[in-house]
């Protein structure tokens, strides 16, 4: 086993270990952080394979984008700090079954693929400009259609985000007006029993 292989196994162990931690962690924020490490590990694997462009995109999209969004949404929940209850046995059982099924499925596919013997030379060498041209190519193996479809999807997601975020302020009412006027706020006067009925004019 040479140094390269050792690095490969180390990275793989890191990815798998953090992935398992991500699904078994009791705290939701920690799960997100373990997921982050797992995704960074995948990027490291790409670097190991010398496909730097994919690695950089992996970091930009997953680490800088997806995980940050996940963390943001965790911030907005109430129970981000508290421990989640342990899942019931039935759920653990079914998830184990699902893992087993997934593992055997992918194992079968991988085992069925005839791998070539590893070579010492770089397997492929793609300049970044070629990737760019392929991405916007309309000819055979051109990716312009999927590229545009994905951007439309992202646009729709952005519009959806804005709509959800806008809902908190109802149309036509400013926040200033929503604030309660003095004399009508939530501090009820506990010290004095209500002896007399006195109408306090609420001018605002």
């Amino acid at each position: 086993m040479d140094a390269s292989a050792i690095i490969f196994y180390l990275i793989s162990a890191f990815i798998l270990g953090t992935a398992i931690l991500a699904v078994t962690s009791q705290k939701i924020f920690r799960s997100a952080i373990w997921l982050l490490f797992s995704l960074v590990g995948v990027a490291a694997l790409y670097f190991w394979m010398q496909v730097e462009f994919v690695a950089a995109v992996q970091i930009i999209v997953y680490v800088g984008g997806v995980v940050v969004l996940i963390i943001f949404s965790i911030f907005l929940t109430h129970y981000s700090g508290s421990e989640m209850p342990k899942p019931p046995l039935k759920r653990i059982l079914f998830s184990l079954l699902a893992v087993l099924f997934g593992f055997s499925f992918s194992y079968r596919i991988i085992a069925g693929y005839g791998f070539n013997a590893a070579t010492t030379t770089k397997p492929f060498n793609v300049p970044v400009s070629a990737i760019g041209e392929q991405m916007l190519d309309t000819k055979k193996y051109g990716f312009v259609l999927p590229f545009e479809v994905v951007s439309m999807l992202l646009l729709a997601a952005m519009v959806g985000c804005i709509v959800i975020a806008m809902r908190s302020v109802p149309k036509g009412t400013s926040v200033q007006k929503q604030a309660a006027p003095i004399g009508a706020n939530d501090g009820t006067n506990k010290l004095i029993p209500e002896t007399k009925d006195l109408v306090i004019e609420d001018k605002s």
Binding site: V175, Q176, Q178, A179, I182
Partner: protein, 377 residues
Amino acid sequence: MYRETQIIEADNKADGDDLVINVGPQHPATHGVLHLVIRLQGETIQKVEPHLGYIHRSIEKMCESLSYRQFIYVTSRMDYLSAHINNHACAMCVEKALQLEVPPRARVIRVLMDELTRIASHELWWGAMAMDLGAFTPFFYAFRERETINDIMEETCGARLTMNYMVPGGVMYDLHPNFQQRVKNFIQLFNNKIDEYDDLVTGNIIFQNRTKGVGVLTKEDAISFGCTGPVGRASGVSCDIRKLYPYEVYDKVSFDEIIEMGGDSFSRYLVRIKELRQSIRIIEQLIDNIPEGDIQAKTKAVLKLPKGEFYSRAETARGELGVYIVSEGGTTPYRIKFRSPGFSNLSALDHISRGSKIGDLMAIMGTLDLVIPDIDR
């Protein structure tokens, strides 16, 4: 006796989405020990609740056991940035009760000192407010000029912050021989410096965006909340005691009462900056016209006020300071009430900061110009 700081947690009544934050008692923007409990929805303020009393010394109670000469010195510690004017208001109240005639020289000296104090106080406010908004450099610019005033004060009064210079019937010492020349030098220097301030802060687009339309206090609210001083005048309320109820020689000098109609933080800023020029104007008129003569009226060693109630008002850098003395005819006051401007100005804080962002709260607090000992007393 040490009491642990009360940290306010979200109560059950609150909406679950609200975030309750304790700003203070130790916080960079409160300039002292003010404790604000703010309820946030995201970054938007739902409610601001001041918790006072961290430096409450019960000055009013203390004064009840001090003689009419002594109690004036305690008041320097209320609004320590307008110490002269606090002392002045108290001295005026005692003089009103005793019907003392203050010599003309003392009157002019008092007004000069008041205006210098006002400039020094506004300087400190200007630097501190800019720092609240994240600009550090103005703080040093402001202190550069404020030091000059403090030096002038030190030469004449012997102190730099709590001067204790005003006594019933006049002032304590005569002016230092250098006083006139140094004040003239200062005025000459300072006129250019105000332009520099405008360049550095007033014209800055970020500063204007941060303050315009922030914390709007309408004229009706300003009156209802009892906001005075630059805060009230920025909302269009004419409340300058120097104009409305002139004392000493304020009716003999010409100066303008600065009134802005905006009511927002920027108006409050503008009022103070323009007041700096008016104070300079007053000093310019008086500095060459200090009459000769006594600096104190003849008074007895132990002052005894007649039975009755006396009220005097003075315009401090923060607004209207009222001194209300109830006398039973003895050598000590029966009851003293200080109507401090900061207390009333603070009470409007909750009203004007609702619905704005946390950053705005700092702009609002900065332009309300709170001095905490003035509020807690």
